[in-house]
Amino acid sequence: MESKVMIEDSQQQNIPKEQSIGPWKMVWIKFKKKKIALVGVFILVILVLSSVFAPFLTPYGQEEMNFTNINAAPSREHLLGTDNLGRDYLTRLLYGGRISLMVGVISAFISVTLGSTIGGIAGFFGGRIDNVLMRFAEIVMSFPFLPLAITISAVVGADVEPETKMYIVMMIIGGLSWPGLSRIVRGQILSLKEQEFVLAAKALGIPNYKIILKHLIPNTIGYIIVSAALGMAGAIMSESALSFLGLGVVPPTPTWGNMVQNARNLHVLRTRPWLWIPPGIAILAAVMSINLIGDGLRDAIDPKSNN
């Protein structure tokens, strides 16, 4: 018996007395170790800051035209040249970032809200509710995304203001991309529900809504955050794809997607690469950095990948 007591005592000593590391602090410590994810943060911060502070970074307005200087090549005054209406292209790139990033954030928000609510309800209540919601998710998921988005955009989005069109695009992207997350959240809730700490809470007389708020959601939030990040990258891609086909956000509102559209013209593609390479790089940088952050978060949040 003596020796057994000593085993436990020595284990107790492993815990430093002074400070305790909470689960979220732990996530941050693990995330910090992922250099590549930090690169992602760095790139994303630059993209966000440069689009937020666009008015301070460029002397031109985003729709300020100068017909005496159209289709200019890059120069001191216009670092990325001008477009066919004489607008400064760098200015449009900066302002375009606002729209593209915003479409990403809002679409991801719509998708995450729908996905986690629907998945959470299905998982928590189970039975018939679960059955109906998950079949619905499967139906939405079984449509190929791009053709459906194109169709909806073409039907609903014809003859509307550019601004309205932007919101329609967000809703299409968000409204079609939630099923994946809803299935993940449902699975999470289903397995959490069976965990003994949830049963313990029930045995202690903790009411259902507190069990959901304090025991279930805090343990799924990590996956939801990761999925929000990845969803945002996906939404930026989708917006670009739609805009490239002329079905996304339409000019004069600039987005990286509709700026790349310039590459559809063979002449521009060959002779004025500054019109499509920079927005292309911007999309690539945004999507890549967000994905890097999402991957880093996923590893950091996973409690099984300790140390």
Binding site: V5, E8, I21, L199, A201
Partner: protein, 323 residues
């Protein structure tokens, strides 16, 4: 005779099996078929049996963590299974549970103080400084230190986590505790400590335990009486000494014969049971044990044996006892 603290009569729990889109009811997993026993104040009743025989379901149905299909549970005379919301809430303070898995039984996002204090807050029993003091008091009697309150579960070893689980159950000052294999997941060296802690606490706090385990030696150490379960039924129930020294049911005999003994030279006849446990969704007719029983007769296939008192306080269900 003392009045029992807990009376369980003909407890039954079927889990429906549903198939297809319309969730058609195609059968039942008969997890608990017919379980009856009493538990006296301060007593420990051990519940043993192979995996899947319905031990956990019995414990959970008593606490209404799953809703029983039929039967009766009385705690201090109160009808537990039909208790309304308010009454049930009150009962929650009296009846608690300790779990097997020291990992999944603690919320990884809650500190020890939060986990132990959650129920105290919920039931409005303590506030402010008193609440803090109570939390520290409880974790200290479970062998943890006051500075552990702000720690998260991942910072503790398996044995310590089990102590936290015990502290959480004891916070409300209950009298009855279902201990669902509380040491099965622990190292042998830690098992003894947790068992000793539970026995100390029982004496100090006058607790009654329903101690579930598949380990007959552990059950022998802690229990006053022992019930043996097979496929949802209690097949034998007796005081510890009667059961271990004079088992009546062939299933109990087989289980006891398989306990490892410290002296390898001792003469033993291990009774090997043939075959696997039948599925609880489709249990055998008559005596459910007849497919594996070494002494089964024709009658066993047709008629279910009655659960009878053969000696004072020694119950069993088998046609061939004394024949």
């Amino acid at each position: 005779m003392t009045t029992p603290l807990l009376e369980v009569k003909n407890l039954k729990k079927y889990f429906p099996i549903q198939k297809g889109f319309l969730r058609k009811h195609v059968g039942d997993v008969k997890a608990v078929e017919n379980v009856s026993f009493n538990l006296n104040p301060g007593e420990t009743l051990g519940l043993v049996g192979e995996s899947g025989c319905g031990k956990s379901t019995t414990g959970r149905a008593i606490l209404r963590l799953v809703e029983a299909t039929a039967g009766e549970v009385r705690y201090n005379g109160i009808d537990v299974l039909n208790a309304r919301q308010n009454e049930l809430r009150r009962l929650r303070r009296e009846m608690q549970i300790i779990f097997q898995d020291p990992y999944s039984s603690l919320n990884p996002r809650m500190t020890i103080g939060e986990a132990v204090g959650e129920a105290l807050r919920e039931h409005g029993l303590y506030k402010g400084k008193e609440l803090k003091d109570r939390i520290i008091e409880v974790i200290e009697i479970c062998g943890l230190a006051d500075y552990h309150v702000n720690r998260y579960p991942h910072e503790f070893s398996g044995g310590q986590r089990q102590r936290i689980g015990i502290a959480r159950a004891l916070a409300l000052n209950p009298s009855f505790i279902v201990a669902d294999e509380p040491v099965s997941a622990l190292d042998v060296s830690i098992q003894a400590q947790i068992i000793n802690l539970m026995m100390d606490l029982q004496e100090k706090l006058k607790l009654s335990y329903l101690f579930i385990s598949h380990d007959l030696s552990v059950v022998k150490h802690i229990s006053d009486r022992v019930g043996v379960m097979y496929l949802g039924d209690i097949v034998e129930l007796a005081s510890k000494n009667d059961l271990y020294d004079n088992p009546l049911h062939p299933y109990t005999k087989a289980l006891l014969s398989a306990i490892p003994v410290p002296d390898p030279k001792m003469k033993r006849n291990i009774i090997i049971l043939k075959g696997d446990i039948p599925s609880p969704a489709n249990p055998p007719s008559g005596c459910k044990f007849h497919t594996r029983c070494p002494i089964a007769q024709d009658i066993c296939k047709e008629e279910a044996p009655e659960f009878k008192e053969y000696q004072k306080g020694h119950f069993a269900a088998c046609h061939l006892i004394g024949k």
